[in-house]
Symmetry: C3
Subunit: 353 residues, 3 copies
Amino acid sequence: MSIRLGELAQRLGGELIGEPEVAVTAVAPLDAAGPADVSFFTNPRLLAQAAQSGAAALIVSPANSARIGAGFRGARILTDNPYAYFARVAQLFAAQAAVLPPTGIHPSAVVAPSAIIAASASIGPHVTIEAGTIVGDGCVVGSGVFIGRNARIGAGTRLYPNVAFHDGCIIGARCIVHSGAVIGADGFGFAQDEGTWIKIPQTGVVRIGNDVEIGANTTVDRGALADTVIEDDVKLDNQIQIAHNCHIGAHTAMAGCVGVAGSAVIGKHCTFGGAAMVLGHLTIADNVHVSSGSMVTRSIREPGQYTGIFPLAKNADWEKSAAIVRNLGTMREKIRDLEKTVKMLVEKNNEQS
Amino acid sequence: MSIRLGELAQRLGGELIGEPEVAVTAVAPLDAAGPADVSFFTNPRLLAQAAQSGAAALIVSPANSARIGAGFRGARILTDNPYAYFARVAQLFAAQAAVLPPTGIHPSAVVAPSAIIAASASIGPHVTIEAGTIVGDGCVVGSGVFIGRNARIGAGTRLYPNVAFHDGCIIGARCIVHSGAVIGADGFGFAQDEGTWIKIPQTGVVRIGNDVEIGANTTVDRGALADTVIEDDVKLDNQIQIAHNCHIGAHTAMAGCVGVAGSAVIGKHCTFGGAAMVLGHLTIADNVHVSSGSMVTRSIREPGQYTGIFPLAKNADWEKSAAIVRNLGTMREKIRDLEKTVKMLVEKNNEQS
Amino acid sequence: MSIRLGELAQRLGGELIGEPEVAVTAVAPLDAAGPADVSFFTNPRLLAQAAQSGAAALIVSPANSARIGAGFRGARILTDNPYAYFARVAQLFAAQAAVLPPTGIHPSAVVAPSAIIAASASIGPHVTIEAGTIVGDGCVVGSGVFIGRNARIGAGTRLYPNVAFHDGCIIGARCIVHSGAVIGADGFGFAQDEGTWIKIPQTGVVRIGNDVEIGANTTVDRGALADTVIEDDVKLDNQIQIAHNCHIGAHTAMAGCVGVAGSAVIGKHCTFGGAAMVLGHLTIADNVHVSSGSMVTRSIREPGQYTGIFPLAKNADWEKSAAIVRNLGTMREKIRDLEKTVKMLVEKNNEQS
């Protein structure tokens, strides 16, 4: 459970300044790191902490290494992206510490005879896998997971306990779906007929790319006629709702509680703050960033940061502001009246002088 | 898996103009439909697409059929509500394609001896059904579903995998509850006693009518003393929270992520956009429509569309607006001061002239 | 299933005015209570109802008892906190009516040999408990629950069906976790590397105190390096998202659909209305109350009520207000221009007179 610094630099790159034989066993924050820990420095506010850190090694950019100076006594690993390097070091340690579930199918699992389960996959207790489904190499299917008919689970993908993954849906390689997520439930589609709702069968599926992560209790609905699509490397946090026929571009990330209404098309490399919402049938360009709690009500064609939330205030102050907001039309009228009167006064004044 | 157009019109009504022997096998959008597909036309913007569609048959209103003219060569089914007709056609095809689970109780299910399960019902793997519960004719209870004591599941109702349906709750006929939904968990009720919370037992249940659909991971809490009630034909999308003692009128529909606080009484034929919220103990009339992201903070007595969201803007513009919103009181003061001064100026001016 | 009033007062305190031998069997609202019911009175608007109530006994403060006067004929229990007293009476009846699941491990449960399950605990059907986990005295683990490795479930805690409780997480005594809740899924942490996301392993856990209640489908993520902490007597409603490394102070309560972003530190005795949101890395003092639907975007150091929502209006009125909000900068300019011109007019006016 330990790695020598020399081996770390060999595997992950970067320039090691220090003793390659020093062994490290964990990652830790600057102020908690001890002589067997690796830490990293990117936040300028923590410069003093970095200089005084007891870490065995510090991952740092060349420029910041100079800034820290001789204060820090441990080894340094110089790299242009210390945070990404730190993530990879943490992954190494996590992989060493991981307790992998046994391969094979737990005797309590109910797997249809026509399902094809890779020998290297792990199927947990109380799992149900229906007919025609394929589970790839090295997949881990947690306890209580349901996988419907004719689904495809790509190699190395992990479905945590109590996920529901419905008929015909497809997920790529190296994905992670957290507990309670529901992939491929019916989209919300009804026609109205004299006040009664007529259900529109949702016959599309959900197609998910590679390296996608889907948070706990997040829901991604199947398409109505066409499919709901989530491209490679999309990261969805918990409690997110993706409606039918949405298309989410590669590398886009959404924080918790985001909702995306039906048929929205979202670009690549976008980010959505927590509880941001997107109305249906909109198009959002690549590299758009929507702030937390903001409602997107029209298509966004231009990259950038977008926001729309009512600023928080003490309740009494808010009540005052809210009352005025309700009457902004009156305020605008008053200003117009003032403008007219003042213009008249100015004219009179000019006449008089 | 095909239906002749003549049979379609016989079953679903409408006036068929064209060859009744033509067989169709699926529904499709106008631009994708081929010689075995049925499509529909309602959106005036798609008039050109309709005229050029390769569909075997087009569902269309008489007025729109005239608008399309001779351009479209296939058959036509004339009806006053083409979208509802289309939904019913799609349901026919979906019913033909559906793979129904086997009737009977899966050997891995744990069903209390006193539960009464209709012979035509299908109880999936890893299901738990507790004492005194009744599951009606043709019900489908998916893998991993939990049904508590003394519950009632009406005929033809489907509970998808991993639903939890708690003690004493009642659901009518032909309902659909999607994966991960939780019906009848405790409402959120506490008394405060010197800074500590004292739980108020939630002894009511949830009573759900017929033809109700409840989305994935949606939660409907049981009542505190009285019951939580959801009337017939209510449609709830995913990730919705309905708190204890709410009453939701028939035919009301709510999009994803809506939240309704305790004891709210909502009328019939209402609609709620995604992430709309309703405070507790409010009354909302029939035919009220609340826009996405809007917070209902007072009772609504009058039908109509209601909205309350901060408009989205580029972040820099929003920051400017938000700063002013925080100081609207100051702005109002300035306007009042201006009004006074201008009034004084006008009076002086009148005296002078 | 009945309690004499004398016994009630003996167990729960308060001053009984009336016949101690009268037996009561349930709690009920003032207007529905009959001769075997206990009711309570706190809301001044219900004074007439209280006076006319048919309840066997009324829980009431001494001051309000005087206000009701001789109108009410039943017994009275005088106490300073009638609502808390009522809650405790309701708990007594609920405990009498409760059907406790059998102790022991259901044969369909899959429990690792190294897990330690108290003999008085009840482990339901289709449960999975992994290696090294300890389940305390009197715990109830519902059907389909998953508990990961090395977890700790305190005495008397109940996990309702289909909860997922992940590796290493800890929950104290007398807690309640409702169906579909997910405790200890990975926090949402990624480093960016040339447009690709690199996962940061989430190696902390979730530590939950005593007497905590967690609602249906609520998610509490495990920490990244340090832990996510929920202190004693915290009450979380349904559909809540608590991100990694949050710290929630004792006795704080959050209504449904609240979201708290990563590393937020929230004080004790706070309350959050439904769908309130808290950005990451903020600090919120004790006794802060955030209104429903409000977004907390900065730390709050001072107790009090805080709000930030756009007021609801008829859609046409909202459109007008929203258009002005978008152009508040222009409005401010106009006021500044008016102020300048009016100042100039006043000066001229003074010169002339």
